[in-house]
Amino acid sequence: MFSNREPGIDVKEEIKASGTYEYQDLESATNRVLQRINAEPAYRIVLYKILEYCNSVRPSSDVEQAILSFPEMKAAMHSPQMLLSWLKDAGGIKQLATEEGDGLWCTTPAGRNAVTTESYDNRLRRLLAQEPIYKAIYLQLLQFCLSPKSRAEIESILSGNYILEKPKVYPSFFLENLEKAGGLEWDKKWKITSAGQNFLNGQAQSQT
């Protein structure tokens, strides 16, 4: 998911080095981006994906196409331009002036920092640590969704699992959390994301 970024680079260090932001400024700028994203639950994942995608400078037409290709946009109420305007207003992306053509978009340091802070790996790790009782179920679902699964299929494999009974939680509780953490995505069925796959692999390695 972070294909345009070199692994291992610390964004904060990078920004400090570039002198673009004072460290405190970056913190508050990042929070502004995160707040804006968190205020849009329907687009939370899409907005992160946009920040990732624009980590390299991208022409507007490419950005628009990319956004429309995200499965989360299938029942979206707002256009790609609108989402870009939100991120721009929040300081997560910026437009680069060009002589002609559609123009270019790129993620700002604050936007990049937001993505790093809320990286999928961090989120998934946090999720599993949050309520250890559910760890096995989360891993089971990631594994199960290596191939796409309908909600009914997922409900079926969790049926009778006593952990769901006290306190009562429904399978969608786990799906929702895994989706929010970036481990699963919905494209007519639930399927594992590449981040989820990486996480799963990491879990397997740590156990061996």
């Binding site: 299938k74 029942a75 109420m77 331009q81 437009q95 123009g103 969608s172 509780f173």
Partner: protein, 895 residues
């Protein structure tokens, strides 16, 4: 705005904002307007219709000239309002032509709360919502869609729940229900039964259009108790007018209310009770009536279940089958004093037996008490003195009130909404109902509890299609197992909804479809809901004009005002209609909106929605409709044998003669099938003062659930009991020291729930909420008449203007719900300045049967404020900005 890329043209188009930040609240509407949209005619015509500014049905004559409504006056032919109208109804023109109506479907283009909107077509609005609903259902399940409604001017309560049932979501809720009326409809139905399925269950709420006896000129009622009820302010032209006329005829009144309301000011006895302690006082009344043998012995012995023995193990009344192999499970046991043994009592009575009313008897090794005995023991601690101490009343005045009610008969106890807003809600209704039943104030001339014949149309236009909701989905309803009383209205438990939104457990709601005024004014502890908005993918608000809630929505749907809508309404033995007098902008009757949404979901492949359009699948209920006329015609033909137009032309008309409508003693009528009296509509056919039906409800969900549900954690109690409010001034707690005053609320005559705060003339009359405070308390806290004050509870603080008056219990303060449309476009969105529901309590203790939280009877403190909240309007000239404004011509859409 500089947006040089992504093609400037497209970007601007995508982000174009109609009215931009302009102002839901200020002097500009969302869209400015120039001309009138309505049918044109040079002459004035008068259209007979009915109001819906509240839940009343007052008759209205609307004068229409050149297509514009120019005058409203009361219709003398409507038999309940008799030509009277109240300020709410009379403001119909200002509401209809308000410059800030929601005029078109709109979608949010800024962040939630920024109030940036773009006009969209109806097609786009419905398609967008439907697609999101379908995706949500596929991803998380239909239960992730929640829907809500509310009282204010609601044309049809069941529209939202019908849609949700069809869609497969069990999660329908409203701020009312458990906090408004449902504790009473539930309790009275379980204790008295219901024989008129098209009417509300018999109960004593005047504000909800019951107690029809008071509308009859010849009623012999002699004493009327208004307990937490104030019809003069809640339903002025109908119940209010009727009570005034009764008083004029010499009927005595007792008012139980912390404040000196309009009705209290005319009462023979006023009991300014401490809010939240009603059950203690009601149990005292019961004790006094039993101790002094003031009850109706004929009714209690022969027509109530109080002589029945109670099985101490199960708490149910003892059946013959409990003690005898092959015994009849439907025959109840009594203790026969002649034979000194337990005997089955055949319905309705056996003169050969001499059943004991009170006492404890040994039956098959069990110590069995009679229902009467158990009730007596329950009430025993509540002497006049004890009740006076708990309720902050004078014992002599309590006794005077009871004597008036119990000796100057026939009498009736009208129970208002006040007790629905305390955690003892159902117990209050049980006790109040028991008092009227003990006194035999049921189905006799002068009684409030009647079974008058309902008109063929009844009170419900939209039926809920409850059978569409599967057992699996019903079990997912928030709070359904613990609070099974909510099954009567098919609603879920508000605090549990909120908890689920916040925690994701047991599952996360994702879409909120809301139809009503301002949830942030109506929901208890309103601030606690703020966090919810950031967890929801889609929030749709269907209403007449933008409210604070709209600011957090994604799509706004413009609903019709009552002058633009159709409905059929019963009024005593007459049928009345509400007719669409005109139509403005692109507003749509919301009853039609939900049908159109179901249609679109059906087109997108939703099986339940498809079936809902198939009369074979919905029978005996009507299928969904493609137009309002299809619905109104369908119902009128089915129930009245005419088209809507034919009914409208004829209305108001008598469906059957007055004497046939006013049927007394229906329980004594002989049933031709059984050759026995009909009895009451309960399981035992008796008045179930020992309300064992609550036990069964808790254990199974019967009679409201079509499926047997898991039992509650603790059986519901079949008798009323008193619990001190969750926040009590009696306990010497730190809380009570910091917050020493008890808060109550109550209806104003100018507004209904959260509505009409944008009506210029009403705001001129009552521009800001008053905080009623007793002179002794005012002096203690340094507050003078007219001061701006801060009112604060554990949960928040807000402002009001002090009204120092001896007309309130000294330890109590009063404030009614309020919000400020003029500050909608500020960061408060109008709901924080003067909103008593920032203070109210929506956490436990909840009522055990219906989950009621505490809107009255919690602790607050009061202090002087430096001045009014910023930006609010208080002067008449400021409200001019909201005076009627003509509307643009818009393409015709169905009303």
């Amino acid at each position: 705005m500089k947006l040089p890329v992504i093609t400037r043209r497209n970007f601007l188009k995508a982000t174009a904002v109609t009215g931009m930040t302009a102002a839901f609240g200020g002097s500009q509407g969302l869209v400015k307007s120039n001309t009138v949209k309505a049918k044109t005619s040079s002459s004035t015509k008068i259209v007979r219709t009915c109001c819906r500014a509240c839940i009343g049905t007052c008759g209205v004559l609307a004068h229409v000239k050149n297509g514009r409504v120019i005058k409203l006056e009361g219709d003398p032919e409507q038999p309940m309002s008799k030509g009277a109208m109240c300020p709410k109804g009379l403001s119909g023109i200002q509401a209809l032509y308000h410059p800030n109506r929601i005029k078109y479907p709109m979608k949010r283009v800024g962040a939630r709360g920024e109030n940036k909107w773009k006009r969209i077509s109806w097609e786009e609005a419905i398609d967008t919502i439907a697609r999101k609903l379908m995706e949500t259902r596929d991803k998380y399940g239909a239960e992730a869609v929640i829907g809500s409604t509310g009282g204010g001017g609601n044309p049809e309560f069941k529209s939202v729940s019908r849609f949700l049932n069809v869609f497969g979501s069990p999660n329908f809720f409203e701020p009312g229900s458990s906090q408004c009326y449902m504790p009473r409809t539930l309790t009275y139905q379980l204790m008295c039964g219901q024989k008129q399925p098209l009417a509300d269950p018999p109960n004593t709420s005047i504000a909800d259009g019951n107690c029809l006896e008071i509308y009859t000129a010849e009623t012999p009622i002699k004493t009327l108790v208004l307990w937490g009820a104030n019809p003069t302010w809640s339903r002025p032209p109908e119940g209010g007018r009727a009570v005034v006329e009764l008083r004029e005829k010499g009927v005595k009144t007792v008012v139980v209310d912390p404040r000196l309301t309009a009705d209290a000011s005319k009462a023979d006895v006023w009991l300014p009770i401490r809010p939240g302690t009603d059950v203690a006082l009601l149990l005292c009344w019961i004790r006094y009536i039993l101790e002094n043998k003031l009850y109706d012995k004929e009714i209690v012995m022969k027509w109530s279940n109080l002589p029945f023995l109670v099985n101490p193990k199960t708490k149910y009344c003892l059946r013959e089958s409990d003690i005898k192999d092959g015994g009849d499970p439907n025959t109840y046991m009594v203790w026969d004093q002649k034979t000194k043994s337990a005997k089955p009592l055949p319905f309705p009575w056996d003169d050969k037996l001499d059943p004991a009313l009170e006492g404890t008897y040994k039956v098959k090794g069990m110590e069995c008490k009679t229902g009467f005995q158990l009730l007596k023991e329950r009430a025993e601690p509540y002497t006049l003195e004890k009740a006076a101490k708990i309720c902050w009343l004078d014992a002599n005045m309590i006794e005077k009130a009871i004597k008036l009610y119990a000796k100057n008969t026939p009498s009736g106890l009208c129970l208002g909404v006040a007790t629905d807003q305390i955690s003892n809600s159902v117990q209050a209704a049980m006790a109040a109902c028991a008092i009227d039943l003990l006194m035999g104030n049921v189905e006799k001339p002068g009684a409030l509890l009647q079974n008058f014949k309902a008109t063929g149309f009844g009170i419900k236009m939209v039926t809920p299609l409850g059978a569409f909701l599967s057992e699996e989905q019903l079990n997912k309803r928030f709070g359904v197992i613990e609070y099974k009383g909510m099954l009567q209205w098919g609603v879920c438990h508000n605090p549990t909804v909120l908890e689920a939104i916040k925690t994701g457990k047991p599952y996360q709601p994702r879409v909120w479809l809301e139809r009503s005024g301002n949830k942030l004014t109506a929901l208890g502890n309103a601030s606690s809901w703020l966090e919810a908005f950031d967890k929801l993918d889609l929030i749709v608000h269907v209403f007449l004009y933008p409210t604070s809630f709209s600011a957090y929505a994604d799509i706004l749907i413009p609903a019709t005002e009552w002058l633009e809508s159709e409905f059929v309404l019963p009024a005593l033995n007459k049928v009345c209609v509400r007719q669409a007098v005109t139509h403005t902008w692109e507003t749509m009757n919301e009853t039609l909106f939900w049908a159109k949404l179901a249609k679109r979901c059906a087109e997108l492949g939703h099986e339940g929605c498809k079936n809902a359009f198939d009369p074979k699948k919905t029978a005996p209920e009507l299928p969904y409709w493609n137009s309002m006329r299809e619905l109104t015609d369908g119902l009128c033909k089915l129930r009245l044998g005419m088209t809507f137009e034919e009914v409208a032309k004829k209305a108001p008309y008598e469906e059957f003669p007055y004497d046939e409508w006013k049927q007394y003693y229906t329980y004594k009528r002989i049933d031709p099938k059984t050759k026995k009296p009909e009895g009451f509509g309960t399981t035992s056919k008796k008045l179930e003062i020992y309300a064992e039906a609550f036990i069964k409800l808790g254990q199974t969900g019967a009679p409201y659930s079509p499926f047997k549900l898991a039992p509650v954690s603790k059986d519901y109690d079949p008798l009323p009991y008193y619990s001190e409010p969750g926040e009590s001034p009696l306990e010497d707690s730190e809380l009570a020291k910091e917050f020493p005053l008890v808060m109550t609320n109550g209806r104003l005559p100018y507004y209904h729930h959260g509505t009409l705060r944008n009506i210029p003339w009403l705001r001129e009359i009552y521009p800001v909420p008053e905080l009623w405070i007793h002179p002794t308390a005012a002096k203690k806290y340094g507050i003078s008449q007219g001061d701006w004050v801060w009112v604060e509870s554990k949960r928040g603080k807000t402002q009001a203007k002090a009204y120092v008056t001896a007309g309130i219990n000294p330890g109590v303060v009063y404030m009614e719900r309020f919000w400020n449309p003029e500050t909608l476009d500020t960061e408060t969105h109008g709901w924080r300045e003067m909103n008593v529901n920032l203070l109210s309590k929506n956490d436990a203790p909840y009522n055990d049967v219906v989950g009621t939280y505490t809107l009255r009877g919690y602790q607050v403190k009061v202090s002087k404020a430096g001045g009014p909240p910023k930006g609010i309007w208080t002067k008449p000239e400021q409200f001019k900005a909201w005076l009627p404004e003509p509307s643009d011509p818009t393409k015709q859409v169905e009303v």
